[in-house]
């Protein structure tokens, strides 16, 4: 079987003649196979939403988490190979704890992001370990600095965003996000908008099985702590989305 990268795509230690590292690009493909995750910076916080495909009715809801806490004040949402994501989160938790032990201050989000970036980059250097097959969105909220959202991809590039989407439906999601006025939106509104994008735009009911919404936020209301959005709010958001559908019909 020959593809685009044939011959230059065996190890991350080989550049192709046009300057690409194919193994890292293939890692991106692993992320694009996974279901979508969205992160939005609102005026009073950061909200994450993940579209979780329910593979079996035997699975308990709320398990198989895709959003994680690092310290109390930082949240991470993953897309791609979940196990890879958990590995990076474990490293993030250790960095945060070491920082706190040494300096008695909580780790600033841009410091954590840079350290995770460096960590992820190491795995693109050698032929005996593979790159991580997952993208992460890292978010935090601070009274003085306001909301922050960063996204780290498998090639270790970390960029700051106002709104970001990763996974299968990221293109459609990004188009919808760009239509929103994020600087005027509250977190409660963002919960509804994310639910709308994930349920209506990104999730294809005919092709895929049922989905479960996993949402979390770090905002003024949670006093800067990363918490799961209360179930009631998610249910209200889903109802609101259904209401919108009926209006349009």
């Amino acid at each position: 079987m020959s593809g685009i990268g044939t011959g230059y795509d065996l190890y991350p230690t080989t550049f192709s003649p046009d300057g690409r590292i194919f193994q890292v690009e293939y890692a991106h493909k692993a992320v694009e196979n996974s279901s979508t995750a969205i992160g939005l910076c609102c005026k009073d916080g950061v909200v994450f939403g993940v579209e979780k495909i329910i593979l079996s009715k035997m699975l308990v809801e709320g398990t198989n988490r895709r959003v994680f806490s690092v310290g109390e004040h930082i949240g991470i949402a993953t897309a791609g190979l979940t196990a890879d994501g958990r590995r990076i989160v474990q490293n993030a938790r250790q960095e945060a704890k070491n920082y706190e032990n040494f300096t008695s201050d909580i780790i600033p989000i841009h410091v954590l992001t840079e350290r995770l970036s460096i960590y992820v980059q190491v795995f693109t250097l050698y032929n005996y370990i593979r790159p991580f097959g997952c993208s992460l969105m890292i978010g935090s909220y601070d009274e003085e600095k306001g909301p922050s959202l960063y996204c780290i991809e498998p090639d270790s590039v970390a960029l700051g965003f106002y709104g970001c989407a990763i996974g299968k439906g990221k293109q459609e999601a990004k188009t919808e996000i760009s239509k929103l006025k994020l600087s005027e939106m509250t977190c409660k509104d963002a919960v509804k908008e994310i639910a709308k994008i994930l349920i209506k735009t990104v999730h294809d009911e005919t092709k895929e099985k049922e989905m479960e919404l996993e949402m979390s936020w770090i905002c003024k209301e949670t006093k800067g702590k990363h918490k799961l959005v209360p179930k009631k709010l998610i249910e209200e958001a889903v109802e609101w989305v259904k209401g919108q559908e009926n209006e349009e019909d």
Partner: protein, 219 residues
């Protein structure tokens, strides 16, 4: 008779200690730190013009007492790490951060060290702060702190004369007289009084030479 343990081994380990007096006090605009200038090895004054006011960052200083070697190496470690962290974070390190780094080093290596440090400075978040880090590696934030062998003679003086939010003049007098008194009474302290005033504008260093030290009730 030559006793291996008594005469040879213990002599080698007679390290250079700073029999010392150091003081740090917060005032309305920042902190003032002061120290004597004697470093002794037994009864020999190795250095009679020592500078015990050691910069850790631009506006964070530490006052060292105990083993000179131990305190010098730890303050250079903390200086290095605060530099690295401030580059990573893109902002000036706080006195709290530097003081807690001192604590990590002092506590984790407490078996090997004989070092007590006062970390004082100014940062935009807390203003002036003084942290005392005594022998075991504990940390406590205080409005003023004293350290070294000469500090025993100053407990009464400080308790009676300290006031919150002193002016710069009052605070300068407070530390100068304190160190002067300790130099007069403590054999391990002597020489000149070195002072530094740390506030939002930076650091101003001053020295009071031996002949200018106030004599209290003596003629």
């Amino acid at each position: 008779m030559f006793d291996l343990e008594k005469d040879f081994l213990y002599d080698l380990s007679k390290e250079v200690k700073t029999g010392t007096t150091v003081m740090a006090v917060t005032f309305e605009n920042g902190v003032i730190i002061a120290a004597d200038s004697r470093t002794s090895s037994g009864s020999y004054a190795v250095n009679r013009v020592t500078d015990k006011l050691t910069p850790v960052q631009d506006q964070i200083y530490c006052l060292r007492s105990g083993s000179a070697a131990d305190t010098q190496i730890i303050s250079s470690y903390v200086s290095y790490y605060t530099n690295m962290f401030s580059i990573e974070e893109g902002s000036q390190p706080t006195v709290k951060k530097a003081a807690h780094m001192f604590r990590e080093f002092l506590y984790q290596n407490k078996q090997y060290l004989h070092a007590a440090i006062i970390c004082a400075g100014w940062d935009p978040i807390e203003g002036g702060s003084v942290y005392s880090l005594p022998l075991g590696g504990s940390i406590v934030k205080q409005p003023f702190a004293t350290g070294g062998s000469g500090s025993t003679y100053l407990y009464g003086y400080c308790d009676m004369n300290f006031k919150e939010n002193m002016t710069e003049e009052e605070a300068e007098k407070f530390v100068t007289y304190g160190i002067t008194e300790a130099i007069a009474r403590d054999g391990g302290s002597g020489g000149i009084v070195r002072k530094a005033i740390i506030d939002k504008n930076g650091v101003r260093r001053k020295t009071v030479y031996g002949n200018k030290l106030k004599k209290f009730w003596e003629k």
